[in-house]
Symmetry: D4
Subunit: 149 residues, 8 copies
């Protein structure tokens, strides 16, 4: 058994790298969104032409990003959604809801002071982790039955 | 043709009432979450017993709320998600993602300064409205073909 | 047994009225798009605000129309798609493809000189009719087993 | 992440080759309809026997073509639909509707003077491109996060 | 709890009437194909125009009958398929396979000397009955928990 | 909003009546299996003829019961599964798994000394209740937002 | 593009070999039922133990064969169903119905004197072929666009 | 044709090894739950932190196990569920119900004195085997058409 794991959410820290590095040797294929913030914001107008209106500027980009996001989530067995310390992060919560409706196994990576605000999201999850190392341990256990230390 | 409309999101203003009042005479059946904040937070422990740990207190409640939310969204044709001025509102974004994955017609009700933060959510929507009256006009047009004014 | 029938396509002649009138007394519920051409074109900007760019003007309207169209097709048992003599009518062909993918029973109403151009559409249909009266006869036969004359 | 891309629509210019050539080096698998117009028209009778009636001649061929088209679209992640300058092209719009109902990511390749006629089709798409090079740039961005220039 | 029951198969004896009469007082809604053999054979050409070729004569009719059959099976909870003593009855077996793939509860009504020939069909069924009265008793038991005599 | 609730599991105490009585005045439609143990065991042979082999005796009955069970679960929004003090009750756990795979909201009604043995079942549930009154309170809260005194 | 093709139906002539041989060089993976008639009839009792009752003897075997048949059809893109000259062949028609409900592309291989009896089956098919060579030509055309001679 | 086979249920004897060893040389890929009882019970708290309450201790573990179980069943063609002599084994029956609702081919491995208690589970199965060697023979027959000696 191998797992396809989509890593959604916060893009300002290296949590994805920590999980990918930690999972070396496991039969896991990772995917995720474009994490270059500037490219992600401007891809629509850079490829398809400028927009005078900022709303449509954003919209064209968000729709291109959706091609990648939908494919990544649809192909995944597990979706990890990381909520960071800052920003609205509504796209992270949107991905969690999208994945939940498709029946994907959800792991939420969050800090304790967000617990109350995330309770509806967590109610659809199979695990709430506090750091990337715990996500790695979950993947290792699911694939090999091995527990830490 | 009639419509089932689920009203998700912000619970601190009377936007649901404005839409329901405005839509009188249209063949619309509305549903939505429990909007009593205290009841919504405490329903789990009030019905199923106290929890020493706040996380599980929240979890038991969120799971009961999910019975209502999932039913309401599953039965709906249109899901309106309102993002208010305050709070994280991750449950609203979660509902939007959940509804999008089920192929529901999404209408997002948001203020302009949230446009950038909501761009991925909006990319899955069929309309972005600025006030409840616009939502009413959309429902009227969809059902009757009549435009305002 | 009753039937929900969605009447898609051409909006410049009274073919829908002919079918609805002819089917009186049968257990059929009809739906269809907004057939007021002006309202259909301008609904987006009339309700949600003007757009400087004609493309987005059209886009906002088409997305509102999609709320009605998707609901109507999703709820239908039979989708009748009428191709008229004029115009591109790509929305009609789009509806036919959409309905076919959902497994709806398709009836195409077309004139003989369009037969070659419509062959891929017709290959997904259960009937190709030449006039509204034939559609009425099909509905009557399907519901009652009665043949004309 | 790799992508399966189905290239639907116009068969009289070399737009497919431009996209396939431009996407060399990307993890994309392309498919599409039979683009030999004569073979596509006559395959039914050539293989399964002549028909006296032109309608059934066309029908037998269109049904064989549907074996390929349905398989190609069903297996795809992205469906690109090209509307050319000429002809009715109802099969292209049909494919777009079919793909939309299956939840595929749609990219429409069209010229500006078709924008109004294609607005319902575009409302279901994640991108509207003006030339094959833009489609290549979209695929490159979705797969690698890289923007042009 | 009520049941929608589709009565498929043999049309030369009054087995449908026996079941419908026997089930009076139960909350069952019955549907079935057009049982007028002549109408069923000729409906296509009578409504949509003559065909010189007998194959297409039959085809046009069979496609119209499919509108009714698919609707009836799709809406049903239980599909009863009756195999009579004569004829090929491939449409009956086709309906059984179609219903099985949709997860409908299948009841096959057959005589013992057909048992071996029907074993693959029976393997997908929840009951094999020998006469219409047994089908009535099954419906009565499923709806009310009452057994005969 | 109304709810369809399927009451699965233990048939030797009056827990179903307690829930149905307690829920009077709420918009709930209840269904459940045949609770006459003897009828449930013997329905197959009583209706369709005796079997010499006890295995097939049981099998014929279990398949008839499946017609009712599958319909009841498929139509439900909420499935309540009661595990009693005695017996293997594998049919109860089977129903829970069946309902979980269909995405139904599960409520498990169990005594504390079964908690460990039921942990995989509970992991798929939205609530674990200890007595029928709690189930009633959940239904009341979900439908009306009202919490117990 | 490659195709998975399931070859259902008649097992007394070498039509499967003709198709498989003719398709050499094409990207096709074939599957089909167990074609050893004796093994197919007796597999249940040979593996799982004798049955005194011939009906259950057949039933146990038919259920084992269903493991293979359902897997083969579920994984296929195209299902070819061959109706031979003799026998009831209800399993062939059952497979056709099963495949049709799953949206598979159906090719029926039949002799002209069966045309009337098979009209409902043919109405769900994309091709009706008269000999195995035509099936090969269809597969070749679908995969390569090449027509015979 | 190859098969993915999920081996669910009893973890205290070596029945999985017997099946896997016996199936050597067949195109079968096996999966199953974590069979280390201690790890399976404690995985949640070992990875995600201790719980004071035994219920939540169990719950956290069961949810992690669900990631593996759901993936294994979802990817399988055949689910074998073994009921042993001891314990409640509700997770086994839950898996059987879950697999049945997804349309998987079920094989139940059980001793005769459990036949009555398992009749509802068996009614959803395609085979009831008495020992692991019979399961191997089923897999061999399904894949190769070969019967035992």
């Amino acid at each position: 058994m191998g797992l396809n794991v989509y890593l959604s959410g916060e893009i300002h820290t290296n949590w994805r790298d920590q999980i990918i590095d930690g999972a070396q040797g496991l039969d896991v294929t990772f995917s995720g969104p474009v994490t270059d913030h500037g490219a992600s914001d401007d891809c629509g107008v850079k490829i398809l032409g400028e927009e005078a209106n900022k709303y449509w500027h954003d919209h064209k980009g968000a729709m291109l990003n959706a091609i990648r996001t939908r494919k990544g989530i649809a192909d995944s067995d597990v979706v990890v959604v990381r909520f960071g310390e800052q920003y609205k992060q509504w796209n992270a919560a949107f991905d969690a809801g999208y994945a939940a409706a498709l029946g994907k196994s959800l792991i939420i990576l969050q800090q304790p002071d967000h617990d109350h605000a995330l309770k509806e999201v967590d109610a659809a999850a199979l695990a709430v982790a506090r750091d990337p190392a715990q996500v790695v341990e979950i993947l290792r256990y699911v694939l090999t039955g091995t527990l830490p230390g």
